[in-house]
Protein backbone atom coordinates (compact mmCIF):
# COMPACT_ATOMS: atom_id res chain seq x y z
CA UNK A 1 0.00 0.00 0.00
CA UNK A 2 2.84 2.25 0.96
CA UNK A 3 4.75 1.72 -2.27
CA UNK A 4 1.72 2.23 -4.52
CA UNK A 5 1.05 5.45 -2.69
CA UNK A 6 4.58 6.63 -3.36
CA UNK A 7 4.18 5.91 -7.06
CA UNK A 8 0.83 7.70 -7.11
CA UNK A 9 2.41 10.65 -5.40
CA UNK A 10 5.22 10.93 -7.93
CA UNK A 11 2.96 10.73 -10.95
CA UNK A 12 0.38 12.98 -9.39
CA UNK A 13 2.88 15.69 -8.62
CA UNK A 14 4.30 15.68 -12.12
CA UNK A 15 1.06 15.56 -14.05
CA UNK A 16 -1.08 17.72 -11.78
CA UNK A 17 -3.56 14.97 -11.02
CA UNK A 18 -4.63 13.96 -7.55
CA UNK A 19 -3.66 10.33 -7.82
CA UNK A 20 -7.13 9.53 -6.53
CA UNK A 21 -7.87 7.68 -9.73
CA UNK A 22 -4.91 5.44 -9.05
CA UNK A 23 -5.56 4.97 -5.36
CA UNK A 24 -9.22 3.91 -5.47
CA UNK A 25 -8.89 0.97 -7.86
CA UNK A 26 -5.72 -0.30 -6.19
CA UNK A 27 -7.36 -0.21 -2.79
CA UNK A 28 -10.54 -1.92 -3.90
CA UNK A 29 -9.07 -4.50 -6.23
CA UNK A 30 -5.72 -5.44 -4.75
CA UNK A 31 -6.44 -4.91 -1.10
CA UNK A 32 -10.13 -5.71 -1.12
CA UNK A 33 -11.15 -2.55 0.64
CA UNK A 34 -14.79 -1.45 0.72
CA UNK A 35 -15.43 1.09 -2.05
CA UNK A 36 -16.63 3.82 0.28
CA UNK A 37 -13.49 3.62 2.37
CA UNK A 38 -11.41 3.61 -0.79
CA UNK A 39 -13.04 6.81 -1.97
CA UNK A 40 -12.57 8.39 1.43
CA UNK A 41 -8.89 7.50 1.36
CA UNK A 42 -8.70 8.82 -2.18
CA UNK A 43 -10.06 12.23 -1.21
CA UNK A 44 -7.48 12.51 1.56
CA UNK A 45 -4.72 11.35 -0.75
CA UNK A 46 -5.59 14.09 -3.22
CA UNK A 47 -4.93 16.66 -0.56
CA UNK A 48 -1.68 14.92 0.29
CA UNK A 49 -0.55 14.98 -3.35
CA UNK A 50 -1.55 18.57 -3.72
CA UNK A 51 0.07 19.90 -0.58
CA UNK A 52 3.05 17.61 -0.93
CA UNK A 53 3.83 18.87 -4.38
CA UNK A 54 2.70 22.43 -4.08
CA UNK A 55 5.17 23.51 -1.43
CA UNK A 56 8.10 23.27 -3.84
CA UNK A 57 6.35 24.67 -6.89
CA UNK A 58 5.02 27.72 -5.18
CA UNK A 59 8.38 28.47 -3.72
CA UNK A 60 9.97 28.20 -7.10
CA UNK A 61 7.33 30.42 -8.65
CA UNK A 62 6.12 28.00 -11.27
CA UNK A 63 2.56 27.87 -9.92
CA UNK A 64 0.36 30.77 -10.95
CA UNK A 65 -1.56 31.42 -7.74
CA UNK A 66 -3.61 34.22 -9.23
CA UNK A 67 -4.92 32.05 -12.04
CA UNK A 68 -5.45 29.17 -9.63
CA UNK A 69 -7.33 31.19 -7.05
CA UNK A 70 -9.40 32.92 -9.71
CA UNK A 71 -10.44 29.60 -11.22
CA UNK A 72 -11.21 28.20 -7.78
CA UNK A 73 -14.21 30.49 -7.65
CA UNK A 74 -16.14 28.19 -9.90
CA UNK A 75 -14.32 24.97 -9.00
CA UNK A 76 -15.25 25.06 -5.33
CA UNK A 77 -18.86 25.92 -6.05
CA UNK A 78 -18.87 23.04 -8.51
CA UNK A 79 -17.46 20.69 -5.87
CA UNK A 80 -20.25 21.42 -3.44
CA UNK A 81 -22.85 21.13 -6.20
CA UNK A 82 -21.35 17.78 -7.12
CA UNK A 83 -21.38 16.46 -3.59
CA UNK A 84 -24.97 17.63 -3.22
CA UNK A 85 -26.34 15.78 -6.21
CA UNK A 86 -24.12 12.74 -5.68
CA UNK A 87 -26.92 10.72 -4.20
CA UNK A 88 -29.20 11.33 -7.13
CA UNK A 89 -27.02 10.51 -10.09
CA UNK A 90 -26.20 7.13 -11.50
CA UNK A 91 -22.44 6.95 -11.21
CA UNK A 92 -22.12 4.51 -14.07
CA UNK A 93 -23.37 7.13 -16.48
CA UNK A 94 -20.87 9.56 -15.04
CA UNK A 95 -17.94 7.25 -15.40
CA UNK A 96 -18.81 6.58 -19.02
CA UNK A 97 -19.20 10.28 -19.74
CA UNK A 98 -15.98 11.11 -18.00
CA UNK A 99 -14.08 8.43 -19.87
CA UNK A 100 -15.37 9.54 -23.25
CA UNK A 101 -14.61 13.19 -22.62
CA UNK A 102 -11.09 12.31 -21.53
CA UNK A 103 -10.48 10.24 -24.61
CA UNK A 104 -11.67 13.07 -26.82
CA UNK A 105 -9.44 15.48 -24.96
CA UNK A 106 -6.39 13.45 -25.75
CA UNK A 107 -6.64 14.48 -29.38
CA UNK A 108 -5.74 18.17 -29.07
CA UNK A 109 -3.13 17.35 -26.45
CA UNK A 110 -1.59 14.79 -28.74
CA UNK A 111 -1.50 17.17 -31.70
CA UNK A 112 0.45 19.62 -29.61
CA UNK A 113 2.80 17.06 -28.22
CA UNK A 114 5.92 18.57 -29.71
CA UNK A 115 5.07 22.03 -28.49
CA UNK A 116 7.36 23.08 -25.70
CA UNK A 117 5.89 26.57 -25.29
CA UNK A 118 2.60 28.01 -26.48
CA UNK A 119 3.11 30.64 -29.18
CA UNK A 120 1.19 33.67 -30.25
CA UNK A 121 -1.01 33.86 -27.17
CA UNK A 122 -2.62 37.22 -26.46
CA UNK A 123 -4.05 38.18 -23.08
CA UNK A 124 -7.82 38.49 -23.08
CA UNK A 125 -9.87 41.11 -21.22
CA UNK A 126 -10.12 39.28 -17.89
CA UNK A 127 -6.50 38.32 -18.00
CA UNK A 128 -5.48 41.95 -18.43
CA UNK A 129 -7.84 43.26 -15.78
CA UNK A 130 -6.70 40.76 -13.17
CA UNK A 131 -3.10 40.75 -14.32
CA UNK A 132 -2.97 36.99 -14.71
CA UNK A 133 -0.16 36.99 -17.20
CA UNK A 134 3.34 36.57 -15.79
CA UNK A 135 6.46 34.50 -16.26
CA UNK A 136 7.97 31.41 -14.68
CA UNK A 137 11.55 30.24 -14.14
CA UNK A 138 12.27 27.10 -16.15
CA UNK A 139 14.95 25.12 -14.36
CA UNK A 140 15.80 22.98 -17.30
CA UNK A 141 16.40 25.91 -19.57
CA UNK A 142 17.71 28.06 -16.78
CA UNK A 143 15.80 31.12 -17.86
CA UNK A 144 12.65 33.05 -17.14
CA UNK A 145 9.79 32.31 -19.54
CA UNK A 146 7.02 34.88 -19.93
CA UNK A 147 3.51 33.81 -20.94
CA UNK A 148 0.04 35.19 -21.51
CA UNK A 149 -3.38 33.96 -20.47
CA UNK A 150 -6.46 33.84 -22.68
CA UNK A 151 -10.02 32.45 -22.94
CA UNK A 152 -10.69 32.97 -19.26
CA UNK A 153 -14.49 32.52 -19.45
CA UNK A 154 -13.96 29.12 -21.03
CA UNK A 155 -11.49 28.31 -18.29
CA UNK A 156 -14.01 29.20 -15.59
CA UNK A 157 -16.69 26.99 -17.13
CA UNK A 158 -14.36 24.04 -17.49
CA UNK A 159 -13.33 24.45 -13.88
CA UNK A 160 -16.94 24.41 -12.75
CA UNK A 161 -17.44 21.11 -14.55
CA UNK A 162 -14.22 19.80 -13.05
CA UNK A 163 -15.46 20.81 -9.62
CA UNK A 164 -18.77 19.03 -10.05
CA UNK A 165 -17.05 15.83 -11.13
CA UNK A 166 -14.72 16.19 -8.19
CA UNK A 167 -17.51 16.39 -5.67
CA UNK A 168 -19.46 13.67 -7.38
CA UNK A 169 -16.77 11.03 -7.67
CA UNK A 170 -14.46 12.01 -4.86
CA UNK A 171 -11.55 12.66 -7.16
CA UNK A 172 -9.39 15.65 -7.88
CA UNK A 173 -10.23 15.95 -11.59
CA UNK A 174 -6.77 17.34 -12.14
CA UNK A 175 -6.94 16.07 -15.71
CA UNK A 176 -9.75 18.48 -16.49
CA UNK A 177 -7.99 21.31 -14.77
CA UNK A 178 -4.81 20.81 -16.72
CA UNK A 179 -6.79 20.55 -19.94
CA UNK A 180 -8.67 23.72 -19.12
CA UNK A 181 -5.57 25.71 -18.31
CA UNK A 182 -3.31 24.32 -20.96
CA UNK A 183 -5.83 23.78 -23.72
CA UNK A 184 -8.24 26.66 -23.32
CA UNK A 185 -6.21 29.26 -21.51
CA UNK A 186 -2.93 28.40 -23.16
CA UNK A 187 -0.67 28.31 -20.17
CA UNK A 188 2.64 26.44 -20.54
CA UNK A 189 2.43 22.76 -19.57
CA UNK A 190 4.51 23.00 -16.41
CA UNK A 191 2.52 25.97 -15.17
CA UNK A 192 -0.72 24.14 -15.93
CA UNK A 193 0.20 20.99 -14.05
CA UNK A 194 1.66 22.78 -11.05
CA UNK A 195 -1.26 25.19 -10.78
CA UNK A 196 -3.64 22.25 -11.13
CA UNK A 197 -1.74 20.58 -8.32
CA UNK A 198 -2.36 23.63 -6.16
CA UNK A 199 -6.03 23.72 -7.07
CA UNK A 200 -6.94 20.09 -6.56
CA UNK A 201 -6.05 20.37 -2.90
CA UNK A 202 -8.46 23.23 -2.44
CA UNK A 203 -11.19 21.50 -4.40
CA UNK A 204 -10.77 18.21 -2.53
CA UNK A 205 -10.86 20.09 0.76
CA UNK A 206 -14.25 21.43 -0.27
CA UNK A 207 -15.69 17.91 -0.28
CA UNK A 208 -13.46 16.30 2.34
CA UNK A 209 -15.46 17.51 5.32
CA UNK A 210 -18.48 15.66 4.02
CA UNK A 211 -16.62 12.40 3.51
CA UNK A 212 -15.01 12.55 6.92
CA UNK A 213 -18.29 13.01 8.69
CA UNK A 214 -19.80 10.15 6.73
CA UNK A 215 -17.17 7.88 8.21
CA UNK A 216 -15.45 7.17 4.91
CA UNK A 217 -12.02 8.02 6.25
CA UNK A 218 -10.49 4.95 7.90
CA UNK A 219 -7.25 5.73 9.76
CA UNK A 220 -5.78 2.31 9.17
CA UNK A 221 -6.00 2.66 5.41
CA UNK A 222 -5.44 6.36 5.18
CA UNK A 223 -2.26 6.51 7.27
CA UNK A 224 0.09 4.55 4.96
CA UNK A 225 -1.53 6.08 1.87
CA UNK A 226 -0.93 9.61 3.10
CA UNK A 227 2.64 8.98 4.18
CA UNK A 228 3.46 7.24 0.90
CA UNK A 229 1.96 10.00 -1.18
CA UNK A 230 3.68 12.78 0.69
CA UNK A 231 6.99 11.05 0.09
CA UNK A 232 6.18 10.41 -3.55
CA UNK A 233 4.98 13.94 -4.25
CA UNK A 234 8.22 15.22 -2.84
CA UNK A 235 10.19 13.16 -5.33
CA UNK A 236 7.80 14.05 -8.14
CA UNK A 237 8.22 17.76 -7.71
CA UNK A 238 11.98 17.57 -7.85
CA UNK A 239 11.68 15.60 -11.05
CA UNK A 240 9.20 17.93 -12.68
CA UNK A 241 11.31 21.01 -12.26
CA UNK A 242 14.06 19.38 -14.25
CA UNK A 243 11.85 18.00 -17.02
CA UNK A 244 10.87 19.32 -20.41
CA UNK A 245 7.33 20.58 -20.92
CA UNK A 246 6.99 18.09 -23.76
CA UNK A 247 7.99 15.14 -21.59
CA UNK A 248 5.41 16.12 -19.04
CA UNK A 249 2.83 16.36 -21.80
CA UNK A 250 3.67 12.84 -22.98
CA UNK A 251 3.27 11.44 -19.48
CA UNK A 252 0.04 13.38 -19.15
CA UNK A 253 -1.35 11.86 -22.34
CA UNK A 254 -0.48 8.35 -21.21
CA UNK A 255 -2.04 8.89 -17.81
CA UNK A 256 -5.14 10.45 -19.40
CA UNK A 257 -5.50 7.43 -21.61
CA UNK A 258 -5.18 5.03 -18.69
CA UNK A 259 -7.75 6.94 -16.68
CA UNK A 260 -10.17 7.11 -19.61
CA UNK A 261 -9.96 3.37 -20.15
CA UNK A 262 -10.46 2.80 -16.44
CA UNK A 263 -13.49 5.09 -16.37
CA UNK A 264 -15.17 3.40 -19.28
CA UNK A 265 -14.45 -0.02 -17.89
CA UNK A 266 -15.96 1.03 -14.59
CA UNK A 267 -19.10 2.26 -16.26
CA UNK A 268 -19.52 -1.06 -17.99
CA UNK A 269 -19.01 -2.85 -14.72
CA UNK A 270 -15.68 -4.36 -15.65
CA UNK A 271 -13.17 -4.12 -12.79
CA UNK A 272 -9.81 -2.84 -13.99
Amino acid sequence: MFLTAIAAGIIGAIVGIGGGLLVTPVLTLIFGVDIRLAIGASVVSIIATSSGGAAAYVRDRVTNIRVGMFLEITTTVGAITGAAIAAYINSQVLFALFGVVLLLSIVPSFRKRKEEFPKGVENDAWSKKLKLSTSYPDMRLKKEVPYNVTHTPAGLSIMYAAGVISGLLGIGSGAFKVLGMEGAMRLPMKVSTTTSNFMIGVTAAASAGIYFVRGDVNPFIVAPVVLGILGGANIGTRLLLKMKNTTIRYIFIIVLFAIAVEMIAKSLGVPI
Binding site: L37, V44, S51, I65, K129, A208, R214, P219, I221, V226
Partner: protein
Protein backbone atom coordinates in the same frame (compact mmCIF):
# COMPACT_ATOMS: atom_id res chain seq x y z
CA UNK B 1 5.09 36.23 -1.34
CA UNK B 2 5.26 32.69 -2.49
CA UNK B 3 7.82 31.91 0.20
CA UNK B 4 5.43 32.46 3.06
CA UNK B 5 2.76 30.30 1.48
CA UNK B 6 5.09 27.39 0.93
CA UNK B 7 6.52 27.62 4.42
CA UNK B 8 3.12 27.41 6.07
CA UNK B 9 2.34 24.44 3.87
CA UNK B 10 5.56 22.76 4.83
CA UNK B 11 4.99 23.14 8.56
CA UNK B 12 1.43 21.95 8.19
CA UNK B 13 2.57 18.86 6.33
CA UNK B 14 5.34 18.15 8.80
CA UNK B 15 2.94 18.46 11.68
CA UNK B 16 0.47 16.18 9.96
CA UNK B 17 3.12 13.56 9.17
CA UNK B 18 4.54 13.60 12.67
CA UNK B 19 1.13 13.22 14.24
CA UNK B 20 0.18 10.36 11.96
CA UNK B 21 3.45 8.57 12.63
CA UNK B 22 2.99 8.99 16.36
CA UNK B 23 -0.45 7.47 16.03
CA UNK B 24 0.86 4.56 13.97
CA UNK B 25 3.69 3.84 16.37
CA UNK B 26 1.33 3.99 19.29
CA UNK B 27 -0.96 1.57 17.57
CA UNK B 28 1.84 -0.87 16.87
CA UNK B 29 3.24 -0.64 20.38
CA UNK B 30 0.01 -0.97 22.30
CA UNK B 31 -1.44 -3.40 19.77
CA UNK B 32 -4.80 -1.69 19.79
CA UNK B 33 -6.66 1.05 17.97
CA UNK B 34 -8.28 2.61 20.99
CA UNK B 35 -11.66 1.52 19.73
CA UNK B 36 -13.30 -1.75 18.74
CA UNK B 37 -11.30 -4.03 16.44
CA UNK B 38 -7.90 -4.81 17.91
CA UNK B 39 -5.05 -4.42 15.46
CA UNK B 40 -3.78 -7.95 15.79
CA UNK B 41 -4.38 -11.05 13.73
CA UNK B 42 -7.87 -11.21 12.29
CA UNK B 43 -8.58 -7.67 13.37
CA UNK B 44 -7.28 -6.63 9.95
CA UNK B 45 -10.39 -7.96 8.31
CA UNK B 46 -12.50 -6.20 10.86
CA UNK B 47 -10.91 -2.86 10.10
CA UNK B 48 -10.77 -3.16 6.33
CA UNK B 49 -14.32 -4.28 5.80
CA UNK B 50 -15.92 -1.87 8.21
CA UNK B 51 -18.96 -0.45 6.50
CA UNK B 52 -19.85 3.00 7.83
CA UNK B 53 -23.44 2.55 6.69
CA UNK B 54 -24.25 -0.54 8.64
CA UNK B 55 -22.58 0.15 11.98
CA UNK B 56 -22.18 3.19 14.16
CA UNK B 57 -18.91 5.03 14.55
CA UNK B 58 -17.48 2.55 16.95
CA UNK B 59 -14.23 1.74 15.27
CA UNK B 60 -13.05 5.28 14.67
CA UNK B 61 -14.41 8.74 15.47
CA UNK B 62 -16.10 10.82 12.79
CA UNK B 63 -16.65 14.18 14.36
CA UNK B 64 -14.18 16.81 15.49
CA UNK B 65 -15.39 16.55 19.06
CA UNK B 66 -14.96 12.79 19.24
CA UNK B 67 -11.52 13.00 17.63
CA UNK B 68 -10.34 15.49 20.22
CA UNK B 69 -11.68 13.49 23.13
CA UNK B 70 -10.07 10.39 21.64
CA UNK B 71 -6.72 12.15 21.39
CA UNK B 72 -6.93 13.25 25.01
CA UNK B 73 -7.35 9.61 25.92
CA UNK B 74 -4.36 8.74 23.70
CA UNK B 75 -6.30 6.45 21.41
CA UNK B 76 -4.09 5.65 18.39
CA UNK B 77 -6.84 5.94 15.77
CA UNK B 78 -7.91 9.30 17.09
CA UNK B 79 -4.33 10.53 16.90
CA UNK B 80 -3.98 9.37 13.32
CA UNK B 81 -7.24 11.12 12.49
CA UNK B 82 -5.98 14.29 14.06
CA UNK B 83 -3.03 14.13 11.70
CA UNK B 84 -5.44 13.67 8.80
CA UNK B 85 -7.48 16.66 9.92
CA UNK B 86 -4.33 18.76 10.02
CA UNK B 87 -3.63 17.58 6.49
CA UNK B 88 -7.13 18.54 5.38
CA UNK B 89 -6.54 21.97 6.83
CA UNK B 90 -3.43 22.69 4.77
CA UNK B 91 -5.22 23.85 1.61
CA UNK B 92 -7.44 26.07 3.73
CA UNK B 93 -4.39 27.58 5.39
CA UNK B 94 -2.88 28.13 1.99
CA UNK B 95 -5.93 30.05 0.82
CA UNK B 96 -5.93 32.05 4.03
CA UNK B 97 -2.27 32.86 3.51
CA UNK B 98 -2.92 34.09 -0.01
CA UNK B 99 -5.68 36.26 1.38
CA UNK B 100 -3.26 38.03 3.67
CA UNK B 101 -0.67 38.43 0.96
CA UNK B 102 -3.13 39.83 -1.54
CA UNK B 103 -4.28 42.19 1.17
CA UNK B 104 -0.75 43.39 1.76
CA UNK B 105 -0.40 43.98 -1.95
CA UNK B 106 -3.64 45.96 -1.81
CA UNK B 107 -5.02 43.92 -4.65
CA UNK B 108 -8.71 44.42 -4.06
CA UNK B 109 -10.07 42.12 -6.74
CA UNK B 110 -8.00 39.22 -5.50
CA UNK B 111 -8.77 39.85 -1.88
CA UNK B 112 -12.43 39.52 -2.81
CA UNK B 113 -11.79 36.45 -4.92
CA UNK B 114 -9.82 34.75 -2.17
CA UNK B 115 -12.40 35.69 0.46
CA UNK B 116 -15.05 34.03 -1.62
CA UNK B 117 -13.04 30.84 -2.03
CA UNK B 118 -12.21 30.78 1.67
CA UNK B 119 -15.87 31.28 2.44
CA UNK B 120 -16.90 28.36 0.27
CA UNK B 121 -14.28 26.16 1.94
CA UNK B 122 -15.32 27.02 5.48
CA UNK B 123 -18.93 26.58 4.49
CA UNK B 124 -18.15 23.09 3.24
CA UNK B 125 -16.35 22.13 6.44
CA UNK B 126 -18.69 23.45 9.06
CA UNK B 127 -22.12 23.98 7.64
CA UNK B 128 -22.56 21.48 4.87
CA UNK B 129 -21.81 18.27 6.84
CA UNK B 130 -24.74 18.93 9.12
CA UNK B 131 -27.20 19.25 6.29
CA UNK B 132 -29.02 15.91 6.07
CA UNK B 133 -28.99 15.80 2.29
CA UNK B 134 -25.28 15.08 2.35
CA UNK B 135 -25.30 12.14 4.71
CA UNK B 136 -25.74 9.40 2.17
Amino acid sequence: MQLLVSHTLLYGLLASTVIIVIGLVLMAVTNSTGYACDSSGDALNCILSFNPLSSSASIYPTTLASVISGVLQTKPFAIIELGVIVLLATPVLRVFNSLILFGLERDRSFVLITLFVLGVLLFSFFIVPSIPIFKA
